[in-house]
Amino acid sequence: MPFVPHTADDEQQMLATIGVSSIEALFDEIPKALRSGVLKQTPTGISEMDLLRLMGERAKQDQVRLSFLGAGAYHHHIPSAVWDLVGRGEFMTAYTPYQAEASQGTLQLIYEFQTMISRLTAMEVANASVYEGASAMAEAILMAVRANRKSKSHRILCAGSVHPNYLSACRNIVRNQNLHIDVVDTGDQSGTLDMAQMAVYEGQDYAALVVPYPNFFGALEDVDALTDWAAAQGMLVIAVVNPVALALLKPPGEWGAQGADIVVGEGQPLGVPLSSGGPYLGFMCCKQALVRQMPGRIIGRTNDLDGKTGFTLTLQAREQHIRRAKATSNICTNQGLLVTAATIHMSLLGDQGLYAVACDCHGGMMNLLNKALGIPGVSRRFSAAVFHEVVLRLPKPAAAVLATMAGDGILGGYDLGLVSPALADCMLTNVTETKNEADIDAFVSSLRRACEG
């Protein structure tokens, strides 16, 4: 019996102690009419050996030679030590650290994570993660509405250059609480927000402005101006950032005069494999003054009875298990193990490492861009500076180009036609430090053939 350790003897003794004659008898409170028979769609069990074989074959089907797909999920080198450590039973099979004394490993690690991610974003405090980037943005919006005491508005202003999946997820999540998200169009030339355009929104009552960085098109918004503008309007600023980019880019805490108020993002680039989209981790930082409005677990450092340093869950009165209907969010299980990975990953890379990675991403992207621009009909769609992702305009529909490249085993990027018909001849292409010169050349020659053919 896989994973059931009971011997026939055990079972008999246990039934005797309970005073019933069969396990079946233990279900006698369930109305007979409800009892179900055996499962019908579920196959018979297999051994681990057969499972490994089966899954090995399936996994092999999905292998790709070379991928330049980014669009919110990025392939980075992950030091081998990261998952060797994350996979230790003591991290992987522990529960939420409610029993603090028996969970100091996880608790200290999260405290370290909170420190690292706060520093990376230049914010004062951080939580212990939410699900992933898009829902983190939704939580930030809900939080901003609670937190902005000046404006009691239920409206949010959001850059149209945010990831479209983030925008729809946020709408789906906040809609039920009667929150509305208005979108500022992206400049068709620049690929970023136009400060001039923002004037339209002046004097309107918004709880917050959402600024992606880099934005969905890989481009860098004018974050200082936007932050100062929003502050002048009494809006909070929510930054949605790529944490790897922050090694190279000005962190949200330093935007404009006062910095962003809430910073969220997808932590996947920090040591988490692509893995079809999850599990990833959403991170969330804010100014100290807003901490009680932040959802999710938070770890604090404190002392034990002997005065020794220790770590524990704190500010639990924000959470659903204490505050129930009045909680800041319903989130309970979060992304603890991915936080473990991100923390170890950041430790291994350190300042120098993450900076080198960010430089290589950016440099590699520029290299690819320059080479791609040599192909007749290929141009750069937007003018704004980008980090490690760029929109290429193609001489054909992107869908056709990508299909041809896929024939070479290369995923060339993301078909922007899926986002907007106006961008049907554009693809969003990403380069990280994992791509060397040969890879970039392979991309370029495959793209050339696809554009010509």
């Binding site: 896989p2 009971h6 079972e11 246990m14 396990i23 369930i30 409800l34 196959p43 069990g45 074959e57 996994a59 092999k60 089907q61 790709v64 919110g72 999920a73 080198h77 996979g87 003591e90 991290f91 992987m92 099979t93 939420t96 029993q99 969970s103 690690l109 690292m116 405090v125 999946n165 860098l220 190279l248 494999p273 692509l274 079809s276 989209g277 999850g278 599990p279 404190t302 704190t314 959470e319 298990h321 909680a327 969010s329 319903n330 989130i331 992304q335 603890g336 991915l338 170890i344 430790s347 890379l349 350190g350 300042d351 993450l354 440099g363 520029m366 500076a385 980090f387 896929a406 995923l411």
Partner: protein
């Protein structure tokens, strides 16, 4: 010592990053560049490995200890399931990879959807919610979408029994509902009269779980379902506790319209020190049009079956996506692997042996003088003992018992939940623990009860064998110390 405290300025794990091949500047405008390094730790690779190896040893975990944590289903997480999730083809698959490079992954998900339908008796399943609470959100959001679609806008309330998990009311509020609590009777069942009084045209739905967090099976479930349905409300099943009934009863058969499952509980994916989870939702016919996207479909073609993503274009009334991509794929792979390892026979056994273990412990503890919260009832996969007598007479409370258990090498049961039972311990052994382990735990509790009578300070001072003693939670909340403050001084 924090990882920061073992670092030194300029130290790094040099093998872990590229020799930058490109000039740093690139095209990033000066004004947008970072001026001061972030201040990540500066440590060697050995220091990192040693630090986190040692930290890990400060945790209790399923792999090291018995963990009878009620409402959490801490059972064995098969290493084989972990291994298959780590296969390169799965690990490196991009969430937006085209169909032709996704058939392996999608076929697993499609089959998992089928198994979950089978197990729950529901019509459709969406795997996308990332934990139980997000599953609840999806479920209640579907209830709302259903009523809105019907123009039924006066339904503003969700009914929730007092025993419910905190995520239930929190979710209802996130979905824009008011919460009305419904009392639970002395026998652990919902108070039908109270429900009758609460239900009405303003009722959008009832959220409950069965077995409830009282560790008993709600016997009048059909009556409850009829009551709510007759009033035009829908029934939400909190399936975090599916372990109790796997193979025995299907929520769909009990009349539920929608449920979520915690795969990180019933389907044995590891809890990871707080996550990740996975909270698929299942729906009956009423809510099928509203399922969150994406879900996996199957198309017959000349070359055989092709699996593909179904999104809003196919399911126009869907409540839509709740995350950037498709959810916690890696956890779903683990759950799929677990389902294959167990198969239908194995799944039937889960409920059986989880229930056997719980009833055995309940009886042993009762015989030893512990007070069961519901002594007249069968335990399900978990049961409650209450320490209110000890609290009154001996001055030791449920938390003291819990902390003292840590000294005995057992993780504590869930304490003070459900809220309606004073000084309670909610004990859930799961089916993967052996009789020896259960006996060891019962013996420990019995011996602690003796200590409580003779030397109560052993309990009130506990734990004493762990890396720290009891922590000052008040100080933690008052003198908030959430990040390490020492600053870095280098420039880029």
């Amino acid at each position: 010592m924090l990882i920061y405290e073992i670092g030194a300025s300029g130290r790094s794990a040099r093998a872990q990053y590229p020799v930058t091949q490109y000039p740093a500047a690139g095209e990033i405008p000066e004004a947008l560049r970072r001026k001061v390094p972030a201040g990540l730790p500066e440590v060697s690779e050995l220091q990192v490995v040693r630090h986190y190896t040692n930290l890990s040893q400060k945790n209790f975990a399923i792999d090291t200890q018995f963990y009878p944590l009620g409402s959490c289903t801490m059972k064995y997480n098969p290493r084989g399931a972990h291994k298959v999730a780590g296969l390169a083809g799965f690990l490196n698959r991009h969430p937006l990879a085209p169909e032709q490079f996704s058939q392996g992954f999608l076929s697993c998900l499609f089959e998992l959807q089928e198994y979950l339908k089978d197990v729950t008796g529901m019509r459709a399943v969406s795997l996308t919610p990332m934990a139980g609470a997000q599953g609840e959100f999806a479920g209640v959001a579907m209830i709302r979408a259903y009523h809105e679609k019907n123009g039924d806008t006066q339904r503003t309330e969700i009914l929730i029994p007092t025993a419910a998990h905190g995520t239930n009311p929190a979710t209802a509020v996130m979905c824009g509902y008011q919460v009305r609590e419904v009392a639970v009777g002395k026998d652990g069942d919902v108070d039908i009269e109270a429900l009758r009084a609460a239900v009405g045209p303003q009722t959008a739905g009832l959220m409950m779980t069965n077995p409830s967090t009282c560790g008993v099976f709600e016997r009048k479930i059909q009556e409850i379902a009829d009551l709510v349905h007759e009033a035009g409300g829908l029934l939400y099943y909190d399936g975090a506790n599916l372990n109790a009934i796997l193979g025995k009863v299907k929520p769909g058969d009990m009349g539920f319209d929608v449920l979520h499952m915690n795969l990180h509980k019933t389907f044995a994916t590891p809890h990871g020190g707080g996550g990740p989870g996975s909270g698929p939702v299942g729906v009956g016919p009423r809510l099928e049009p509203f399922v969150p996207t994406p879900i996996v479909g199957k198309r017959q073609t000349a070359d055989g079956d092709v699996y593909y993503w179904r999104d809003k274009t196919e399911i126009p009334d869907s409540i839509g996506n709740l995350s950037a991509f498709m959810g916690n794929a890696g956890i779903l792979i683990r759950a799929y692997a677990y389902a294959r390892l167990l198969g239908k026979e194995g799944m039937n056994r889960v409920g059986e042996y989880a229930t056997l273990n719980a009833n055995y412990m309940a009886r042993r503890l009762e015989q030893a003088g512990f007070k069961l919260a519901y002594p007249e009832r069968r335990a399900t996969h978990e049961f409650i003992i209450t320490m209110s007598r000890e609290a009154k007479e001996l001055g030791v409370n449920a938390m003291d018992f819990a902390k003292r258990l840590l000294d005995y090498g057992y993780h504590a049961p869930t304490t003070y939940f459900p809220l309606l039972i004073p000084e309670c311990l909610l004990i859930e052994p799961t089916e993967t623990e052996s009789k020896e382990e259960l006996d060891g735990f019962c013996d420990a509790l019995i011996s602690i009860l003796a200590e409580a009578r003779e030397t109560p300070e052993l309990l009130t001072n506990a734990p004493v064998t762990l890396p720290v003693k009891r922590l000052d939670d008040v100080k933690a909340a008052r003198d908030l110390d959430l990040v390490w403050k020492q600053s870095s001084s280098r420039t880029i």
